[in-house]
């Protein structure tokens, strides 16, 4: 019971605090077009229900994809698209600042992450990776992969260096070199086989293409050598493709 009272008090405090705190200030813009249309939702398909006329000031409450939720001085709330927003000015006459990641940001990116799906010597592979670009040409990546095959499943963890010769191109070819570990678990329906963990090394070639905003498509081929404890090493080739984003 005492706990309930404490919880109620805390909830009450948290709920009451916004009222006592000073009112949140929003980014303000003035419409310079003849009028700007407001939609009920963040998309061109949502109905237009209001227009803001030239000279009116609106507060920008938040952004979702390329749409901005605004509030007019009369308190009407609606969504305005980025193109209309780019034709507004700040109250002191300076142009409105809208962050729109483009090719320049792609070229200057520092981190990248993505998801890939592909074929690993007949088995299916799903991979996720994280990449740090420490120069425009060189980056370091960490990959985690899940392999599901007809007879065995497995995990693979790799670290690799990627070199891009043309970092300012929209479509960038790259080469990669790396090493890691692979763990193979034969399916439980097979009798008498053992799990095993081996080291791997790989080399590969690929293409990265900036599509729009923070997004890129990426496809690559990697050739792995698995250093098994048996007499022969295994060679495995992998094709994969997927999409990535930078941040």
């Amino acid at each position: 019971m005492r706990l309930l009272v404490v919880i109620a008090a805390v909830v009450g405090l948290v709920a009451a605090s916004p009222a006592t705190a000073r009112e949140k200030r929003y980014y303000e813009v003035v419409v310079t077009d003849v009028y700007v249309e407001m939609h009920t939702g963040p998309g061109g398909g949502y109905p237009k229900f209001h227009v803001v006329e030239r000279g009116e000031k609106v507060e920008v409450l938040k952004r979702r994809t390329d749409w901005f939720k605004v509030r007019t001085e009369k308190g009407v709330k609606g969504w305005v698209d980025a193109r209309a927003m780019s034709r507004t000015v700040q109250p002191d006459g300076r142009p409105t600042k809208i962050e729109n990641p483009d090719l320049r940001d792609f070229i200057d990116r520092r981190r990248e992450a993505g998801l890939q799906v592909g074929d690993f010597d007949g088995a299916d592979i799903i991979s996720a990776y994280l990449s740090w670009l420490f120069t425009p040409n060189l980056s370091f990546e960490v990959w985690g992969s899940r392999i599901t095959g007809d007879f065995s499943n497995g995990w693979m963890l790799n670290g690799n260096i990627v070199h891009t010769a043309f970092p300012d191109w929209r479509i960038q070819p790259y080469a990669t070199l790396g090493a890691g570990v692979i763990r193979i678990d034969p399916k439980s329906t097979l009798v008498g086989s053992e799990d095993r963990t081996d080291q791997v090394a790989h080399a590969g070639l690929g293409l990265r293409a900036h599509i729009s905003r923070r997004f890129l498509l990426r496809a690559e081929y990697k050739s792995y050598v698995v250093f098994t404890s048996r007499d022969d090493n295994e060679e495995v080739s992998q094709w994969s493709a997927g999409f990535s984003f930078f941040f």
Partner: protein
Amino acid sequence: MERRIFVLLLKRGCLLAVLALLAACGRENLAADNSADAQVPVINPEVDRREIDEPKIGSSDFELGAYVGYMSVEDFGTNVVYGARLNYHITEHFFAQANYGQTDTDKTSFEELSGGANLLSDDDRTFRYYNALLGINLLPGESFIGRSWAFNSALYLAGGVGNVDFGGDDYFAVTLGAGYRVLPVDFISINFDVRDHMFDSDILGDSKVTHNIEFLFGVNFFF
């Protein structure tokens, strides 16, 4: 005669040289005057630079939430499924989605009829999946409840790949589905989904493509 002409030319030459020198000096003086003008501005504007901390425009492109529903696992009955979901809205038309869900399955009809035979251990009976999907929003608009309530809504299709962990093994699964999203307020979305997880299963002997269909109800919060 020749000497006189020479002297005349010499005199003219000196005159020209003096004139050229004077002109050069004048130009230099002119230049010096100009630079002096530039160094002493007539008007000294006192610009008072204001330091404004501009409020940032917060973006809310992510949705995080949970769902519950029914899932029919082929040959293993229909049971309650629950899971978690993360959405990222890439553009107004496309979104990326990650899901994790699990359900406990029943015995197959063979296990029920035979009496004691158990195909799977209790732990292996839990069907777990995770996947990454790409979705496309169709038919955005408003849905109406009664005369005075209108909510933003959209239909969407989602498809992708993932992993299924069932019967002691992992399978590569392809997931396809359709859903309906309603936003009662801008930061909450209510979702209804139907999706099919397809994978090659060899749990009951021969390998076959199994269809595992789920009906979901979920609530997400934008952030």
